[in-house]
């Protein structure tokens, strides 16, 4: 433990990722097998083996009580010290300066102490055991002995670095170590296997959270290339979650890799018998009458660790599945998107509500993508997620094979130049608007938008627009440019379709600007500026994010 602590100090003193991995690897390499597993475990702030689910039950107040007994300092003094330093392990170790006998502490002995603390039930006994530790060992070592208990090293160390250091220290292939760690969720076990050259024999295990694959925001539609290369789904406004299913039992893990299972009793129980063991990636959503409820509604469920029966009835939750990580007895990350999807479909078909399958869409052109985006927004979803066909599932990565379309690039104030009747329930009102920006005293169209206004606003606008009609072309009414809208969009591209020479991508109405007139709207110069900026990969200065 002494060398472990010294290594932590060296790690804290360097900001370079490569140096940290080198320092870690140099420390791990000569350790005996037992110590290797202990050190790897301690680095991740786990005093006990991952298979041991019992808690240490040593909190800050227990630690503080032991330090008070050793040093004689009272609670107020320790509080001022803690406020000044900011970290429990560091504060307490600094207070213990001069009280300890300075004995060596091995990793094995440290583990013995952790086990003894766990076995002891009464707080007073735990305190007594800590007092013994605090008077025996060096404060520089106790600092990290305590940090392992409080589970926060605060030395700028990420688990990924320890994984890479294990590979370096054992000479195993980095990707193989990473993959084995994903399968097992137990780096200590993986480290031993890496050293023994038996990584392949590590089988996948459920009921430990795995890193989620993340989507990159799409800066420019042109990054997509051919739209046909992408499978498209709605982007949901729910809670990203992993559903682990084994022998009819489930666990739900959220993005923070927390076990959220108790919060969703409506998803657990005997619902899942008969399904194969699997790990699903998807979204928890409040769901009623065949559609998603607003995120605000779901939030009422999130607020409760153990929801009441009433709340569960009022706000039922579904799991909207969109990917498959594990099936039967193996990880399926490396399988292409389509293969994972086919297997996922089989599972969801077998199960049904409350396990839903995220519908998948096709697009042959960017116009199709645009239509799908509008449809997704109409369904109350955030936007789209585009997944590259044939791609594997990349845990913990935000790679270029998943994109999300969500936030607008900017907003513009525009004026309505033409209006059109809608479809379905909007067939009797003017709900689709063509709009323009200003160039001197001319108005040049830049796009057309459908969604974003309330029904009442659309009815009112319909009345106003009918009074402004100048010409009629079949369903389309040209109107005097008087009504100003603020529209958000995700991109601007050159287009021969509109007189301005530009077209907005995914425009949607943010609000009706009753406070503005046509002379106040944005100009073609502004459109050009945003276009130039987007080419440079930079967001324009005035870009107003939607959220």
């Amino acid at each position: 433990m002494d060398l472990f602590a010294a290594t932590c100090e060296r790690l804290a003193a360097t900001s370079s990722r490569n140096s940290k991995i080198r320092i870690l690897a140099d420390y791990l390499r000569p350790l005996a097998d037992d110590d290797l597993t202990r050190a790897v475990r301690f680095f991740s702030g786990s005093p006990l083996a991952a298979t041991d689910h019992r808690q240490l039950s040593v909190g800050h107040s227990t630690l503080r009580e032991a330090v008070m007994q050793v040093t004689g300092w009272d609670k107020d003094i320790i509080r001022v010290c803690h406020r000044t330093v900011g970290d429990t392990g560091e504060t307490l170790a600094a207070l213990l300066h001069g009280f300890a006998r300075g004995e060596d502490l091995s990793l094995a002995a440290a583990e013995e102490h952790y086990l003894a603390l766990q076995r002891t039930r009464k707080t007073a006994h735990k305190v007594a055991h800590l007092v013994e530790c605090f008077t025996r060992y060096r404060p520089s070592t106790l600092k990290y002995f305590i940090k392992v208990i409080t589970r926060g090293m605060r030395i700028g160390l990420q688990e990924k670095m320890v994984v890479d250091a294990v590979a370096s220290a054992t000479g195993a292939d980095t990707d193989a170590v990473r993959a084995a760690n994903h399968r097992a969720g137990n780096l200590a076990q993986v480290a031993l296997a890496a050293r023994a050259g038996t990584l392949e024999s590590i089988s996948a295990r459920l009921f430990h959270p795995m890193d989620f694959m993340l989507a990159r925001p799409l800066d420019s539609l042109f990054d997509l290339g051919d739209p046909a290369l992408w499978a498209i789904e709605d982007k949901y406004d729910g809670i990203r979650a992993q559903l682990h299913l084994q022998a009819g039992e489930i666990r739900i893990y959220t993005r923070g890799l927390e076990d959220a299972t108790p919060s969703y009793p409506d998803l657990s129980g005997k619902l899942w018998l008969g399904l194969p063991d699997c790990i699903l990636d998807g979204e928890l959503m409040a769901w009623k009458d065949g559609r998603a409820l607003h995120f605000n509604v779901l939030q009422q469920r999130l607020a409760r660790k153990r929801p009441s029966a009433r709340l569960i009835t009022d706000i039922p939750v579904v799991f909207m599945a969109y990917d498959l990580l594990y099936l039967r007895d193996d990880m399926v990350l490396h399988l292409p998107l389509e293969a994972r999807r086919a297997a996922l479909e089989a599972i969801t078909q077998q199960k049904g509500y409350p396990l839903l399958l995220s519908p998948r869409h096709e697009a042959r052109s960017l116009d199709d993508v645009e239509q799908l985006f509008r449809d997704a927004r109409d369904r109350g979803n955030e936007g789209l997620v585009l997944k590259r066909r044939g791609s594997p599932y990349e845990m913990g990565k935000r790679s270029g094979t998943w994109y999300k379309l969500k936030r607008p690039l900017a907003t513009l104030d525009v004026v309505i130049t033409a209006a059109e009747q809608g479809h379905g329930k909007r067939a009797t009102v003017l709900s689709d608007y063509t709009f323009a920006v200003r160039e001197g005293d001319r108005f040049l169209n830049v796009g057309k938008a459908y969604s974003g206004l309330t029904d009442a606003e659309i009815r009112e606008l319909t009345r106003l627009l009918r009074a402004l009609v100048t010409e009629r072309f079949s369903r389309v009414l040209l109107v005097k440019p008087e009504i100003v809208l603020e529209v958000a969009f995700d991109g601007i591209q050159k287009s021969p379709r509109h007189k301005s020479g530009y077209a907005m991508r995914f425009p949607r109405i943010v609000r009706w600007r009753r406070d503005k007139t046509a002379t106040d709207i944005d100009t073609l110069d502004r459109v050009r500026e945003i276009y130039e900026h987007s080419l440079g990969g930079m967001k324009p200065g005035a870009a107003a994010p939607e959220e």
Binding site: A13, S15, D76, V85, G86, A94
Partner: protein
């Protein structure tokens, strides 16, 4: 003797003397030349010769044009309105002194800034028995323990050599008056060439006069990165220079030498990778020892963690107070180190 504490400073009304006043006063004792102790244009300024000369340099000619400078070297005494004032060495920066005030049967000592450990440069503290002690407690919490001068020297030299071995440039951050010269002197006495920031080299003459050498050093240049063919040099500069260092194209590794470097959070504040907890102030136990060795029964805690330190002393049977005008923890951390 009655002591008045106000936002203007510490005042001994019976003899009309201010101790390190915060604004201009008719008569002031200046314990040392740091800005938070020596400022303003006083009628009479009393202090050690080094302190008064550096104070004059820092305040500027105009500010001290009408000040009567009254040098009081270590161990010497003067009369002051019925009291005897004696200057006693204080380990802090060059010229730092405690003031012993003997008035009637009472002995009062004002420490100024002080530590008990021998300093890298400057005098060793002499603890004087007294009845009433006005003491600083910048680091008056039981978490503060500092390196000895030997340990600090070893750490400074080791860091410089490690950096050179790896082809990097070591840069030491220390405040301009006191720490900067100490680091420069330590490096020079181990044969390490240096580049010194002007805010630090400005005070070299006083240190040289006291016998501290700076070896092969040259001033920091604006186009430092363009200098080629020079011997490897360690940089010694002030904490505010951090941004300039980090913008440099050179591979620079930063060490922070300070009492505040005893906490890991100093890394985030200074950008330093190496923290060397060496201070010109006493660590917690030095402060306790100072109280004990002086045999004092009455203590006023000023500067630093005054409330907490006074409470700790009170728990040990000392009549200790933290005057409210000198609230817990000084406002200016850098000046306080």
């Amino acid at each position: 003797m009655h002591v008045t504490y106000s936002p203007e400073g510490i005042y001994l009304g019976a003899i009309g003397l201010w101790l390190d006043p915060r604004r201009s006063q008719p008569a002031a004792w200046l314990s040392h030349a740091h800005f938070d102790h020596a400022r303003g244009s006083h009628g009479t300024a009393i202090g050690t010769p080094d302190t008064l000369e550096i104070y004059a340099l820092r305040a500027g000619e105009a500010a001290v044009a009408h000040t009567r400078m009254q040098p009081l070297p270590y161990g010497e005494s003067i009369e002051c309105n019925g009291a005897r004032l004696t200057s006693l060495p204080a380990a802090h920066i060059l010229g730092a002194a405690q003031l012993l005030v003997e008035h009637g049967n009472e002995r009062l000592v004002y420490t100024g800034d002080i530590k008990l450990r021998p300093p890298l440069c400057g005098a060793i503290t002499r603890v004087e028995p007294c009845h009433h002690l006005i003491m600083e407690c910048t680091f008056g919490l039981p978490i503060f323990h500092f390196l000895s001068k030997e340990e600090a020297t070893a750490r400074i030299v080791r860091f410089a050599r490690e950096c050179f071995d790896e082809g990097d440039t070591p840069a030491f951050l220390g405040y301009a008056l006191g720490r900067g010269q100490e680091i420069a002197h330590v490096l020079a006495s181990h044969g390490i060439a240096t580049t010194i920031h002007g805010a630090i080299s400005r005070y070299f003459p006083w240190y040289q006069r006291a016998g501290y050498g700076f070896g092969d050093w040259r001033p920091y240049q604006r186009d430092e990165a363009a200098v080629t063919g020079d011997t490897p040099r360690a940089m010694v500069t002030v904490p505010s220079f951090r941004a300039t260092l980090q913008a440099s194209t050179r591979r620079i590794r930063i060490a922070y030498v300070s009492g505040w470097a005893s906490m890991d959070n100093a890394r985030a504040r200074t950008g330093a990778e190496e923290l060397i907890p060496y201070s010109d102030h006493g660590g917690f136990h030095e402060l306790l020892d100072l109280v004990q060795q002086s045999g004092v029964t009455k203590v006023d805690a000023v500067h630093g963690f005054t409330d907490t330190f006074a409470r700790i002393l009170a728990q040990r049977g000392v009549d200790a107070h933290a005057p409210s005008a000198f609230g817990e923890r000084g406002s200016d951390e850098e000046a306080a180190d």
